[in-house]
Symmetry: C2
Subunit: 405 residues, 2 copies
Amino acid sequence: MVKISMLSTGEEVLHGDIVDTNASWLSEVFFEHGFALNYRSTVGDQLDELRDEIISLSERNDVVIVNGGLGPTSDDLSALAAAQAAGVELKLSQHWLDTITEYFSRINRPMADSNIKQAMLPEGASVIDNPVGTACGFSIELNGAMVMFTPGVPFEFKKMVRDEILPKLKLCFPNVKRLVCNKIYTFGLGESGIADALSSLDIPEAFSLGYRSYMPFIEVKVFSPHSDSNIEMVLTAITERLKNYVLGINQPLIDVIGEGLTNKQWQLSILEQVTGGEVARQMYQSERSQQSFVQSVVDNQAEPLAELSDAILLNNEYRLETQSHACLANFKLEDGSIGLALSSQLGNYAQNIMFKRDYPIKAQQVLIATVLLDMLRRHMNGESPSIEFGHFETLSTIEKTDECR
Amino acid sequence: MVKISMLSTGEEVLHGDIVDTNASWLSEVFFEHGFALNYRSTVGDQLDELRDEIISLSERNDVVIVNGGLGPTSDDLSALAAAQAAGVELKLSQHWLDTITEYFSRINRPMADSNIKQAMLPEGASVIDNPVGTACGFSIELNGAMVMFTPGVPFEFKKMVRDEILPKLKLCFPNVKRLVCNKIYTFGLGESGIADALSSLDIPEAFSLGYRSYMPFIEVKVFSPHSDSNIEMVLTAITERLKNYVLGINQPLIDVIGEGLTNKQWQLSILEQVTGGEVARQMYQSERSQQSFVQSVVDNQAEPLAELSDAILLNNEYRLETQSHACLANFKLEDGSIGLALSSQLGNYAQNIMFKRDYPIKAQQVLIATVLLDMLRRHMNGESPSIEFGHFETLSTIEKTDECR
């Protein structure tokens, strides 16, 4: 097994001014390509500590990815630390100086003297191309390890990893096999609930599961060798066990909705009294769903409804008024519950719910939006729109399939 | 100076399934309290590697914070690794067993056998209380360092750090002084632009600056000793240099807007054709601004306007229709630009803008929402609403202060 570590550098990372998303991104991408990290560390902009950490990591690993510290300013010390670690001098890379000189003339801006520093590399280092920035990536060999230096700007970093570093690693370690990752998007079960539901599952030895949880979804990641013929079977087995909690496979809910609306040639309108535009925002931000989205009204100071049946009436009215095929709505009710309504050519549905605990307002909006969109998903699938989720209690439901115009 | 490191544990962190926000949070909070981290590392759930890293960090630091691995399952190995590092056995903490037994009976759920594992601590360890979970925090002394073990669940972790660990550190290191952090919220200048603008600034020696950048804002953080009388002077000097780019001091833009609307007793409506509900969502999610927010319409499939003056007319009309004191709106224009309009009792304003580069749709929405809200902020301050920002070009502006009803 290849031993790989990552070193993140910079005071802004070490002191929490930025969340180190480069580290989690690299960890995830490398894992999916079969190059799981076995250690990560973070140091600030102290030359000694940088140098010592580079040496220490090179002694314990086959590959070390160093991120950050390649900028033009005086606190960017990675190249110097690399040179000291390797016991060599910094030397001008004429190739890189030409590259960035040309870059600045192309964008018609003067090159600052400080940028010359970005072409100073440890003697013997190989350049790793950065087509989208002035920071030169480079690689040195140290204590038998390949130590690769990458820029901190996420966009430049990711491009360099994808286009340069991963191909290089695959060449050097041809036996490492890329994993396939299938993603099952779930909603309404906690991580332990999912683990319980899947505990009796027998998956083939070459398979492994991972979880990625981000409000409001938990993604179940199914890793397997590329060629394995059991993939479909495993996905089906997991989906069956998680049933109603699965909102999409390899596709997030909002894209499932977009695809469903497109297939049905339906246009959707939205009326929001408790979600402040969250449903509209989600519809708008997915390219797949945006084109099927007509109009939304966010009515923040509406009076609460007396009855859940009012939700049915108002929502049906709004659908007809906006001449859309389907309409999703949420309302405040006088009893303090939240009314969720779906109206389409095929029927009118509503349910009112109460949260089981006190979620922050942002979380409430996202949870309600998710349930509403899932009602539509189920409806388009020919299923009953309302089901129970863990976050709240359903007080009552109404289904009217006869009165639609 | 106290040397402090943090060790994050767990495969889910190491393989990028979760972003390590506990690490950035701890780094920031510790920094603000005068306990800057000097090193962070991450290892997976391998007992040997955990044990070795705990030993190695204890040799190089005064304080080590270990996060994660205190759960009930077999891959939660932190207590065992701690015991091995210290050369002692795990021993049942009757105190903690009683605590969690009582906890489960209080929430009326049976305690699983696996939870007993959470009361097994290294011999000689002192319990660190966790009033909100079943994972027991604990502290051991190792190689002269104080090594403290904390749960991975962010909510539990943060509570333990605030209520238990920081007070303990302050007792042990009474000479470490907490810094005051004042935050200046800026928009429209990059980090290098801000650094340039502030490069000639002379700040007192005990002061330091930090930057925290998150779309679309860059926060300038001004750290200083608590008692320093120069704070106001420094904040004023920075604000003067950054002028129009400062949207709030110690208060994000949306709260500034909320406060302004409340002071003026204004109610706001919003009409969105290009931001898909983003402005409404921001207004809704801030407690300060929510109460001043009447209604919003998101019209996703509206025809583009021929003229910027149409934006003035439509927006003024919408304001009168919704009987609100002010209305913000954005429109598509036929020439491909984006029209931003502000209507209030005091006047009608519009400008149309073009992005200078190709932003993702999410970023576009956030940028447009920010400029619109800033137009309102400036207007409420008695300033001209439209100014130039770096992200886009302003093609034309209209100001009409005479025709308002």
